[in-house]
């Protein structure tokens, strides 16, 4: 236990500095996580119909003791899978009643409830696994990271790619100097559209006018949670809440926490100094159909300043000439441009360059698996790779700063061509005061962190 605390403190001090996170190899920390204790964790799930169900399956070796969902039809399959688990609609009631029975909470509600549920759990000293993006607003991500640190609970955000081999190879290759200093990174996704075929979820649309009755299986008021009241409509759920400002975080929020994670690790990024965004026509209801967001990061020690360009809605950066003819130029990807070469995802391009280079010297410990990392941390092992205080909190804040820059009010004519200058110390935009209101949101009466 003592060892764990010291480790946390060590990590905390790194997080406070410029290089916001460090992946500390397990052997440095000692073997706490290596021997799995015989005891199983008692876990509760909140939001279990969609990704939450998948998360609980991945944690199947543990005890699932309580399940909570506002939509019992969507949740039916998961309820059935864990017949011994107690069933709830209201997470607050569940936390009250099950306080003594649960050690960890898996949060996989829509984005607008992540922080509310996670914070309530953290304040009760529960370990938290929360889906990405960590929160709905920038302030919430900061608050969760701080609370997790203060309450010394084990946390993990649901960007499972962080536990993989590819991100480790990417980091080790870049740290080995294989492409020199990286000053420019392009990351793109086809979302909110799936290929050219169909919507993952609609964006760029208006609020529906019809008011169908709320299904009996759904507690609409609880689903709304902290969001302003509006009539129920199937246009919002399940899953397709992602495109609505009040509930989701758009393509950037959905995919950014996955695909920007390796950039943060490999380039040791902290807060940006500026955020600049442009997008197709955007309204007050939904995120735009396509956007480009550019972040500028300052130099970090010996590392050069970085411009990070995000594209969604199917837009891509120029195809690099190093990519051989006929090779796939995927609908989702990341391109790292260094002084001495380029990497597409985790590989040097052209492929001949990768073959010649081979494998980088191993510097990072390999993961026992994304979910296992959290289980280990809950049981006193080392912090998980995407824990809130050291990594996920910052990553989510930066992703969500991009969404601030996409706000319709900041796309008005008078703001065309505006670059938002970010002061991380003051935690505000310095040149456009109007932007700062979007760092947080108003909560409906009775709701708050």
């Amino acid at each position: 236990m003592k060892e764990k605390k010291m480790t946390r403190r060590g990590l905390m001090s790194t997080a406070a500095g410029v290089a916001a996170f460090t992946i500390v190899p397990r052997h440095v920390l000692g073997g706490a996580g290596q021997t799995p204790p015989s005891e199983k964790l008692n876990i509760a799930g909140v939001g279990i119909g969609g990704q939450g169900g998948a998360d609980l399956r991945a944690l199947g070796s543990q005890n699932i003791v309580a399940l909570c969902d506002v939509d019992w039809q969507h949740a039916a399959g998961t309820f059935k899978r864990y017949p011994q688990a107690k069933q709830y609609k209201n997470f607050r009631e569940m936390l009250d009643k099950e306080d003594k029975n649960i050690e960890g909470v898996v949060v996989a509600t829509p984005d607008h409830l992540h922080a509310i549920v996670s914070m309530a759990a953290i304040k009760r000293g529960k370990h938290v696994y929360c889906e990405k993006p960590l929160t709905h607003t920038v302030f919430e991500a900061k608050a969760l990271a701080e609370a997790a640190r203060e309450h010394k609970v084990a946390t993990q955000m649901g960007n499972q790619g962080q536990a993989g081999e590819e991100v480790r190879l990417l980091c080790e290759t870049i740290w080995d100097g294989a492409i020199g200093q990286v000053r420019e990174v392009h990351v793109w996704t086809d979302r909110p559209l799936h290929g050219t075929n169909e919507w993952y979820w609609p964006q760029g649309v208006d609020r529906p006018k019809d008011t169908p009755p709320v299904p009996e299986t759904l507690d609409w008021d609880l689903w709304l949670g902290p969001a302003p009241t509006r009539p129920y409509n199937p246009a919002y759920l399940p899953f397709i809440w992602r495109g609505w400002w009040d509930f989701g975080t758009g393509a950037l929020g959905d995919i950014g926490c996955h695909s920007l994670d390796p950039v943060f690790r490999a380039l040791k990024l902290g807060y940006p100094t500026s955020v600049e965004a442009c997008c197709t026509l955007v309204n007050n209801e939904t995120y735009p159909v396509a956007s480009r967001v550019t972040y500028e990061f300052p130099a970090r020690g010996d590392l050069a300043p970085v411009k990070l360009h995000w594209y969604d809605g199917g837009m891509k950066p120029p195809r690099p000439p190093e990519l051989e003819d006929g090779r796939r130029w995927d609908t989702n990807g990341a391109l790292y441009i260094g002084d001495k070469g380029k990497m597409l995802g985790g590989r040097l391009i052209p492929e001949s360059r990768q073959k010649e280079y081979g494998k980088p010297p191993q510097k990072l410990e390999r993961s026992p698996g994304h979910y296992q990392e959290w289980v280990n941390a809950c049981k006193g092992g080392k912090p998980a790779g995407s824990n809130f205080p050291d990594h996920a909190g910052l990553l989510a804040q930066v992703v969500l700063l991009g969404n601030v820059a996409l706000r319709p009010a900041l796309k008005a004519e008078k703001f065309l061509g505006t670059k938002l200058l970010w002061d991380a110390k003051e935690f505000k935009f310095t040149n456009v005061p109007e932007a700062n209101q979007y760092l947080t949101k108003e909560y409906r009466e009775g709701w708050g962190l």
């Binding site: 050219t196 997008c279 026509l281 396509a290 809605g313 061509g417």
Partner: protein
């Protein structure tokens, strides 16, 4: 004489290396002398309901003897203004019957019929004013340019900004080295607004309903050379720009205005490479209408002393990054361009380098402007149509004759073509009008016409 020398220079340029040609403004060659006396031209106009109405009003100094439109209702206002002009629906009938009565023709139809109409006029030796973009496909543009040159008719493309004082000022500043050699250009447009199919350009699948054709419209003639499809009001008279078959999208529409200043003053000529990325959309939508937004990246080779240029076009409200030289508190326009030089940056708005400034303002104020070397067009941008009238009378080419408007449009349409094959860099051979690395792209250079419409 001067004119023919220029023509020859121009011809050799297009036949040789892409970089070799130089576009000399009409006025350098024309001079003020030799204006014909005040004899009026006999004009015809085809496509009079929309932009045509404005072009006609700008030519009120001349006689309008014939007006043609396939849509009586849309044309009614203009038709009524000219009770003495004979009215036609079919431009072919008009040209047959009025052959001897007309000297020159104004064309302001949708993009997909520019070519067939302009070519018919040129073949009959008529002077032509044609709206931008000059035509719908690159092959059409090249043929029109060459035919006009061979027929020695006076032409003008409707990019009226090219007659502005400001575009000439920009030429002089660039020639003066005001911002040093230019390596990068960024241009952007807020069109299409996107989203609502009825507001701006439609972004939608082909409509399935088949409403009755209004009695006032000859739908078959409106379609012209394009493959038959049932009538729908989403195509005409307003929203044809957003459909692949009829319009050329935001780039075709606005590119001829916004890219004009850089194309002219930097003597860009033909690009060697172009690549486009666009928003995704469902195939049944993507095959019919232009995307909500596109970024098109052109590469131009070195031209004489001028270094290679990378030009990036963004539309659908996408924009370039804020230029470093722009002072705090100052914003970008919804449409405009940035020329980034080794010694500074120039920013301008949409038509004819409107509002052209060196940025920041402090640098603009400190700049010692060079002397005027280029003659101005009388009344500037507002005199664009009259400049053509003048050319028809004195035989010295107009400010944006097809010799200039043609290559400008080819460049613009190459970007439009790249949007068809998004995320694929295309290598361009401007002499043979061929994409050399992606055969599939070449089917868009000279697409086939509906039977009966081949010239």
């Amino acid at each position: 004489m001067m004119d023919s020398i220029n023509r020859r220079r121009f011809l050799s340029g297009t036949a040789g290396a892409a970089a070799a040609f130089t576009i000399v403004p009409g006025h350098v060659l024309a001079g003020a002398a030799g204006q014909r006396p005040s004899e009026k031209l006999n004009l015809a106009a085809i496509g009079v309901g929309g932009m045509g109405a404005y072009n006609i009003s700008q030519c009120s100094t001349e006689n309008f003897v014939a007006l043609c439109d396939v849509d009586d209702a849309y044309a009614a206002k203009v038709f009524d203004k000219f009770p003495n002009a004979r009215k036609y629906r079919d431009f072919r009938v008009m040209l047959d019957k009025e052959e001897k009565n007309i000297d020159a023709v104004l064309i302001a139809t949708p993009d997909h019929t520019h070519y067939v109409i302009a070519m018919a006029c040129i073949k009959r030796g008529k002077h032509v004013y044609c709206q931008k973009p000059l035509a719908h496909s690159i092959g059409e543009v090249r043929k029109l340019t060459e035919a006009a040159r061979a027929a020695k008719v006076q032409t003008q493309m409707g990019n009226q900004g090219h007659s502005s004082d400001e575009i000439r000022m920009l030429w002089e500043w660039i020639a003066d080295g005001a911002i040093g050699p230019v390596h990068e250009v960024y241009a952007w447009s807020d069109r299409p607004v996107g989203g609502d199919p009825w507001s701006d350009f439609p972004i939608m699948a082909r409509p399935k309903e088949t409403p009755e054709v209004p009695k006032t419209l000859d739908w078959d003639l409106w379609l012209g050379p394009v493959q038959y499809r049932p009538y729908h009001p989403i195509y005409c008279p307003m929203s044809w720009r957003g459909w692949w078959d009829f319009g050329t999208g935001a780039l075709g529409d606005m590119g001829c205005h916004i890219l004009d200043p850089a194309f002219w003053t930097l003597k860009l000529g033909y690009p060697t490479r172009v690549e486009a990325t666009t928003t995704h959309y469902q195939p049944e939508v993507a095959s019919e209408t232009y995307p909500r937004a596109a970024i098109v990246r052109y590469e131009f080779p070195a031209r004489g002393d001028m270094p290679p240029v990378k030009l990036t076009w963004s539309d659908g409200r996408l924009m370039p990054l804020r230029p470093r030289d722009l002072e705090p508190g100052r914003r970008l326009e919804g449409n405009g361009a940035l020329l980034i030089g080794e010694k500074g940056t120039i920013m301008h708005g949409s038509h004819g380098a409107g509002g052209v400034r060196i940025i920041p303002e402090e640098k603009m104020k400190a700049y010692k402007r060079p002397e005027r070397t280029l003659p101005r067009v009388r009344r500037g941008q507002a005199g664009h149509e009259q400049d053509w009238i003048r050319a028809c009378k004195d035989g010295k080419s107009a400010s944006s004759s097809f010799d200039y408007g043609g290559p400008l449009t080819e460049m613009v349409l190459l970007g439009v073509l790249a949007m068809r094959l998004k995320d694929t860099p295309l290598e361009w051979d401007p002499v043979n009008l061929k994409v050399t690395n992606v055969e599939e792209a070449n089917k868009y250079i000279n697409p086939p016409y509906r039977q009966g419409w081949t010239l």
